[in-house]
């Protein structure tokens, strides 16, 4: 169990800058997620921590010690690959015991440890099978068992759930989190799935094009995105250009197109600073559609439903207000709105977040 720190880490592949000046701390025993779109450098960071890739510059610290020059096999990290990377010519038992052999664990202890690891991942009794005889989800658990049986200082997980189907993925993410909690190992989890990141993490690191965009707890990143990129990456957002028209001790008044003046609580505008203009971020699921009359104090605008994406419990509406299209994700109560319906769109100021204009 150890804390991992990246200090001014850069990594270039020829002309491609895969990671640009990352400064990140992964706290001891916590579950941290690296979240970002394909190609943003998540795997590269994981591989640098594991030692499979050397940083172009910067320091990697594990448990307070610089490990840049420590060879891979001496780092004591458990890495779960995206494609599992189980040894096809070895049985499940031999796969899991692989790392124990190099740690001088005796034959009898090895058997017991393998059994224990299989119990942890809830797949007892498959020691004598070969990886090809297990399903994708089972192989994934074996890969996890192989990584945790060596009692690593850090557990690195590279999109371990992405090859599973939707149902299994949701089961596995609960299970994975439970296992991590039980053994309490510092874990770095890579994904490009925002719901996975929100559900599992103690802390999320949002990345874009090799740069760290935001670091924070799931609620923080979700409710208070630090940039337009983060706002859009964690679910659909509507973004409006606004200007500051006044402020008092509790709120900041913003002039927004279509909706008029909105008084946003100060804690929702921490990223704005002293700027005079900014961007108002409203999540699709916070935009309320109604066809009932609204009282005068409510912040609202009139619009027309242009398209409906029906998803069972919820529906995603594309609503035109003036010359802009907004996205709204609403629970369906009774009947969903039809295409062409005239609706009133309501905003709750507490649900907004404000960003400076240049981000």
């Amino acid at each position: 169990m150890a804390r991992v720190e990246l200090k001014n880490i850069q990594k270039s592949f020829g002309l491609v800058k895969a990671v640009k000046d990352a400064n990140v701390t992964f706290e001891e025993n916590s579950f941290t997620t690296l979240l970002g779109p394909s190609g943003c450098g998540k795997t590269t960071i994981l591989r640098m921590v594991a030692g499979l890739e050397a940083p172009t510059s910067g320091d990697i610290m594990v448990g307070g010690k610089r490990v840049n020059e420590v060879p891979i096999h001496k780092r004591n990290l458990g890495l779960v690959f995206q494609n599992y990377a189980l040894f096809p010519h070895r049985t499940i038992g031999e796969n899991i015991a692989f790392g124990l052999k190099y740690r001088g664990v005796s034959k009898s202890d090895t058997g017991a440890k393998v059994k224990e690891a299989l119990d942890i991942v809830r797949l007892p009794g498959v020691e004598d099978r070969y990886p090809s005889q297990l399903s994708g989800g089972q192989q994934q658990r074996i890969a996890l068992a192989r990584a945790i049986v060596i009692e690593p200082d850090v557990l690195l997980l590279d999109e371990p759930l992405s090859a599973l189907d939707a149902n299994l993925r949701e089961d596995m993410r609960v299970e994975l989190k439970a296992i991590q909690h039980r053994i309490g190992v510092t874990s770095i989890f890579v994904t490009h799935d925002q719901s996975e990141a929100l559900a599992m993490s103690d802390k999320i690191i949002v990345m874009s094009a090799g740069r760290v965009e935001q670091i924070g707890a799931p609620e923080e990143v979700y409710n208070n995105p630090a940039s337009e990129f983060v706002a859009n990456f964690l679910g659909a957002s509507n973004i409006l250009d606004v200007s500051v028209s006044g402020s008092d001790s509790t709120s900041i008044a913003l002039d927004a197109p279509y909706f008029g003046t909105i008084a946003v609580p100060r804690d929702r505008a921490v990223n704005l600073g002293a700027a005079k203009s900014g961007k108002l971020v409203i999540r699709a699921e916070k935009l309320r559609l109604t066809n009932e009359a609204v009282d005068d104090k409510a912040i609202s605008a009139k619009g027309v439903v242009e398209a409906v994406d029906y998803q069972g419990q919820v529906a995603r509406y594309f609503v035109r207000i003036g010359d802009r299209q907004f996205q709204a994700m609403n629970m369906i109560e009774g009947r969903p709105f039809d295409m062409g319906a005239e609706v009133t769109v309501k905003i709750n100021p507490e649900d907004c977040a404000v960003l400076p204009a240049d981000r």
Partner: protein, 290 residues
């Protein structure tokens, strides 16, 4: 008892028919002729008498000369196979692992020699190893030796010629099986605590044995059946079983004996293939060829 379960399914036989036909016409029938011919009697140069007699076979079993040839052939084939495996694995590994973007170029280089006739490639060694060849020229120019060092017409030259000609088969087979190995397996072994060498030995090497086995079998059989290389590069004592067939058929015009020897070589090499695939597991081989 249901009738449907016992009903004869013709489909496999229909699908196999073309190959069975080809094997019958091109292999089984000609080999049968050769077998029959081995019982004929040779009377004079190119004059045979139709007969059923075991004279040729008796000669094969009793004349030590043939046994020496079998032993030499076996020995050379083993040496060439082992050398090709060791020398071929390294370039195959390099081509499979390199991050060089134009990998096809390296593979093309491997296939390039096939564009030049095998005989010309073998003859080219005369210009390198011969008394007036490049190496001796260099040594004499450097003053390392007064007289040219004899490097040609011995077993060394024969082995060199074989390895030179058959190495690409080994490299290609090993390369294909290395290429099929998940690139994350070695890193996975490394993170679990294996040194680079241990990771190679425990993961990559065992997973590439199908390629090694297939390449090895190919080189062994190709070497075992050769006669041109020892003819060009070997001395009078560097004959293989194939050379005896050549002598019997071409020099002595003794076709019945030639047929006897040919059939023997076929059976011996066939035996190697059968034993080998029993030992290695035929599925391993088919994996490598697929």
């Amino acid at each position: 008892m249901s009738d449907t379960a016992k009903e004869f399914d013709r489909r496999p036989w229909v699908l196999l028919a073309p190959s069975l036909l080809a094997i019958t016409v091109l292999v089984v029938i000609p080999m049968s002729f050769i077998l029959v011919y081995s019982f004929y009697e040779n009377i004079d140069l190119a004059v045979d008498r139709v007969a059923f007699q075991l004279g040729n076979w008796q000669e094969l079993l009793t004349d030590g000369y043939y046994h020496i040839a079998i032993w030499k052939t076996l020995r050379l084939s083993v040496i060439v196979t082992v050398l090709s495996a060791v020398l071929g694995y390294i370039p195959a590994y390099f081509i499979a692992m390199t991050k060089f973007r134009h990998k096809w170029l390296l593979l093309l280089l491997l296939i390039l020699p096939f564009w030049v006739s095998f005989i010309i490639r073998t003859l080219s060694w005369i210009h390198i190893l011969g008394n007036k060849g490049a190496l001796n020229g260099l040594f004499m120019w450097l003053g390392l030796t007064e007289q040219p060092i004899p490097m040609m017409f011995n077993e060394f030259a024969v082995i060199l010629g074989f390895v030179h000609v058959f190495l690409p088969y080994m490299i290609l087979n090993v390369y294909v099986s290395l290429e099929g190995i998940d690139a994350n397996l070695e890193p996975a072994a490394r993170t679990l605590g294996a040194t680079p060498w241990q990771a190679f030995r425990e993961v990559t090497l065992p997973l590439s044995t199908p390629g090694l086995a297939a390449g090895g079998l190919l080189v062994f059989v190709l070497t075992g059946g050769s006669y041109v290389t020892p003819l060009i590069l070997g001395g009078p004592n560097d004959f293989m079983f194939g050379n005896l067939i050549y002598d019997a058929v071409v020099s002595e015009l003794n076709w019945p004996m030639g047929a006897t020897l040919s059939f023997t070589l076929l059976v011996l090499l066939g035996l190697v293939v059968v034993l080998y695939s029993r030992f290695m597991g035929m599925n391993q081989l088919s994996k490598a060829f697929s």
